[in-house]
């Protein structure tokens, strides 16, 4: 399954990446268990949980549905339990996205008032969006517009569920809005939608599986139009919209002679402030005094993608992307990292256990992030982030000094590492990345319009577009399924755009290097060569799935068709956590064929499975594809694209 080229033992390698496989072996040799070991020790996993037919909501439970017990104690069927569990997963995703958005809005406000180190990075977008929200822009200062927009967005978040979401009516294609209105799934404010969904999914309130699924659709629409598109819009306004830029990925970018800081998570504000502060000559002199060659700020997870996407804007000097979710422990295991700043989402509890063996200092930089064993917190506050960034760098320099003095973490006393200054273990691999894609930068790359891309799709040079997005998962081998699908698609002249952990996967395997055109079919290869772009376009972090939706919306508008008629599809081939559940349901609601792997926990309900994979297409235009074999999944998406082309007369 692995595409690693290190040796012939491909079936035994847990990851698609050489660097991750080597780090895994290194940790094993040190007697330190990591994610792949924990995965094995969890096998076999319970079939009731995997199929979504275990209900643990009330104290009569857990109830599990079997051929002997077709109903739970309250009478709930497999269909009710699976649909309710799915809705509860989506609620978690919606809540985390809302948290991110609220931080972004707070930052926009504080920036407008001049109390953050950031300056409005995209004033044109500010004007456009403010106008969309009905704000009178004539003669207004940037500061006034930003403050008013922040208030409008906050008000949109806090609307009642019966008041239609303004962001949706502003950004969604009219043909989609019609479909959603007919089904009664146009959402109100996201906080009200979260409340309603949680209320409905309590025991014995709403037990109708179909209504629960429609509630999930409604919630996902609120998540998409506020949590995703609202968040990226505000982040672009504050930090600048992505512009094409070169960067690097994989663990080989770490320079052990520098003070090494990793921005890990999803929210880019602290990371950006730290990068900006690290260029301050005074702060740089602190690092030099400590004997370091300089200060490097790297990225991990989605925060890394955010910084990479804006390294031609607010995050200039970004040192490169290290890894995605599955490989987060190995960043610390290099022994060359001084500080990991954990912002909202995706800091696994194992980070603090592995940090016991290495010099790395962990600090949470968001008030919602707490891990057992992590006692240092610098919780992000927009008005204080300039000072917080200096404090974080000071902490990193302290850790650097300790690292140079041979400190190997709490667990190092008299252990196998021995005395003296231990050498870091750095796999020597790194890959070049062309990043910074988005609607604006793609238009710019084509001389100011999307016309060349449309023409290539129309004449068949490019057959269509698939967004390969979302998390990374152990179940089929770290990044293995995602990379296999991407490679199969580009070989068949399908352009891939990616976001989230899948972006890291593609970066590390050089699919985001323009040289990857050599791995494409003839048409796509020619197109990429002429445009100077790679066949897998980095759209950024998982919240940038919103950026992909906006791009598809524009494509549909230019062709004057509903998004469901476009030769496009979505794949979340290694989905992992709850935000991805909300994203996946959104993609279906947006009218797109949505491939999901692994199979989400609904397979125990034939009704929920049938609705998601078949019936929903008649209502929303999109549906879920559950093919788990990567080549067959790619083939099914290509077949879908060809059918859509034919229907459009292309």
């Amino acid at each position: 399954m692995s595409i690693c080229r290190t040796c012939h033992a491909v079936d035994r390698c847990p990851s698609a990446h050489r660097s991750t496989n080597e780090m895994y072996e290194y940790c094993r040799s040190q007697g330190i268990p990591t994610i792949f070991d924990r995965y094995q020790s969890q096998q076999p996993q319970c079939g009731f949980g995997m199929q979504g037919i275990c209900c643990q909501l009330c104290s009569h439970g857990p109830c599990r549905i079997t051929h002997r017990a077709e109903r739970g104690i309250c009478g709930a069927t497999a269909d009710t339990i699976a649909a309710r569990n799915l809705l509860r997963l989506a609620v978690h995703g919606a809540a985390a996205y809302s948290h991110h958005l609220e931080e972004a809005i707070d930052t926009l406000k504080a920036t407008a008032l001049g109390s953050t180190p950031f300056r409005i990075g995209d004033s044109q977008k500010l004007q456009e969006v403010a106008m969309g929200f009905g704000i009178n822009v004539a003669g207004q200062s940037e500061r006034e517009l930003a403050l008013q927009l922040a208030d409008r967005l906050l008000a949109d978040m806090h609307k009642a569920s019966r008041e239609p979401l303004t962001s949706l009516s502003l950004l969604a294609p009219p043909s989609r809005r019609e479909v959603w209105a007919k089904l009664g799934v146009i959402p109100g404010g996201i906080l009200s939608e979260i409340r309603d969904a949680l209320t409905k999914s309590m025991t014995s309130i709403n037990t109708d599986p179909v209504d629960l699924l429609l509630t999930a659709v409604r919630l996902a629409l609120a998540t998409g139009y506020l949590g995703l598109m609202g968040t990226i819009t505000v982040q672009d306004i504050v930090l600048g919209s992505p512009a094409l830029t070169e960067s690097w990925a994989d663990l080989g970018v770490i320079d052990p002679e520098k003070v090494n800081i990793v921005a890990h998570g999803h929210v880019p504000f602290v990371g950006t402030a730290v990068i900006q502060a690290s260029r301050d000559p005074e702060i740089l002199s602190w690092a030099k005094e400590a004997g370091a060659k300089g200060i490097n700020v790297y990225g991990s997870m989605c925060t890394g993608q955010e910084l990479m996407q804006r390294s031609a804007a607010s995050a200039g000097g970004f040192a490169g992307q290290l890894a995605n979710w599955i490989a987060q422990e190995y960043i610390i295991a290099t022994g060359a990292v001084d500080l990991v700043m954990m912002d909202m989402n995706c800091s696994i509890p194992a980070l603090s256990t592995i940090a016991e063996h290495f010099p790395t200092r962990l600090v949470s930089v968001d008030k919602v992030v707490r891990l057992p064993g992590v006692s240092e917190h610098v919780d992000y506050a927009p008005e204080q982030v300039a000072a917080q960034a200096r404090e974080l760098i000071r902490m990193a320099i302290e850790a650097y000094r300790r690292r140079q003095n041979g400190y190997r973490g709490l667990g190092s006393q008299g252990n196998h590492h021995g005395n003296g200054r231990p050498a870091p273990y750095l796999p020597p691999y790194k890959a070049k990345v062309l990043a910074g894609f988005g609607l604006e930068s793609i238009s710019r790359a084509f001389g100011g319009s999307l016309e060349p891309l449309l023409a290539a799709i129309a004449d068949g040079t490019i057959r269509g577009v698939v967004a390969v997005v979302g998390c990374t998962n152990n179940r089929n081998g770290h990044d293995t399924t995602g990379l296999a699908i991407m490679q199969e698609l580009i070989k068949n002249n399908v352009l891939v755009i990616s976001a989230g952990c899948m972006s890291s996967a593609a970066e590390i395997e050089s699919l985001m290097d323009p040289a990857a055109e050599a791995r494409c079919g003839a048409g796509l290869s020619r197109f990429c060569r002429e445009a100077g772009i790679p066949p897998v376009l980095n759209f950024g972090s998982c919240v940038d799935i919103g950026r992909i939706v906006l791009a598809v919306t524009r494509l549909a508008a230019l062709l004057n068709v509903d998004p469901s008629r476009l030769p496009v599809a979505v794949s979340a081939p290694e989905y992992l956590e709850q935000k991805a559940v909300a994203d996946g349901i959104f993609a279906v609601a947006f009218g797109l064929l949505t491939h999901l792997g692994p199979v989400p926990p609904v397979a125990g309900s034939s009704l929920v499975t049938r609705v998601l994979t078949e019936d929903i297409e008649g209502l929303l235009g999109g549906k879920v594809l559950l093919e788990q074999e990567p080549k067959a999944a790619a083939a099914a998406m290509i077949e879908h694209i060809e059918a859509k082309r034919e229907a459009l007369g292309l």
Partner: protein, 178 residues
């Protein structure tokens, strides 16, 4: 090989055992929890076993992405009994159950039984220096694992009935294939 007649003459026909239908297992581990509970010192429930941290005697193995339950088969000619140096491991002539507990001799933890068992059904006790294996739940009407299995992957029944069920399935398949 003993002739079939002798088998008939003994108490062996009509013998009940926990039979494994591996294809039905979904890896929920309820059997493992129920086994641990049944062997707890005080509260013999699943919760009791978890609180006392009683070691289970049945395993569920991950095999090629599937789950397979495995427990002692209480063989007619048990290799573990033959290999046992102290005589602790014995086959009860009446019930046919094989166990190293409750006899006159004590298990000394030489692990000969572990080496001898072709099925890997005997394990090392995690806390004591003795071998640990399924005792067949002699005090229960139905062994705890089979009673707890929600998927019918572990079936308490007559050995020959299990064979009859399998034979009928095969016959049906042959008919449909014909």
């Amino acid at each position: 090989m003993k002739p079939a007649r002798e088998l008939k003459a003994g108490c062996l026909l009509g013998m009940r055992r926990v039979m494994i239908d591996a294809g039905k297992c979904n890896g929920c581990m309820t059997c493992v929890l129920a086994c641990a509970g049944a062997h707890a010192a005080n509260d013999k429930s699943i919760i009791g076993g978890m609180m006392e941290k009683t070691p289970p005697r049945i395993q569920v193995l991950p095999v090629k992405g599937r789950a397979v339950p495995l427990l002692c088969l209480h063989c007619e000619e048990p290799a573990c009994v033959d290999a046992c140096m102290t005589g602790a491991m014995r086959k009860d002539p009446k019930s046919g159950l094989v166990s190293n507990e409750g006899g006159e001799q004590a298990c000394v933890g030489c692990w000969m039984c572990i080496m001898a068992c072709p099925y890997g059904a005997v394990r090392q006790h995690p806390d004591k220096k003795v071998a640990l294996k399924c005792d067949g739940c002699p005090d229960r009407e139905v062994p705890a694992c089979a009673a707890a299995c929600p998927m019918d992957a572990l079936i308490w029944g007559e050995v020959d009935d299990f064979a009859a069920g399998r034979a009928m399935k095969t016959a049906l398949a042959l008919l449909e294939g014909a």
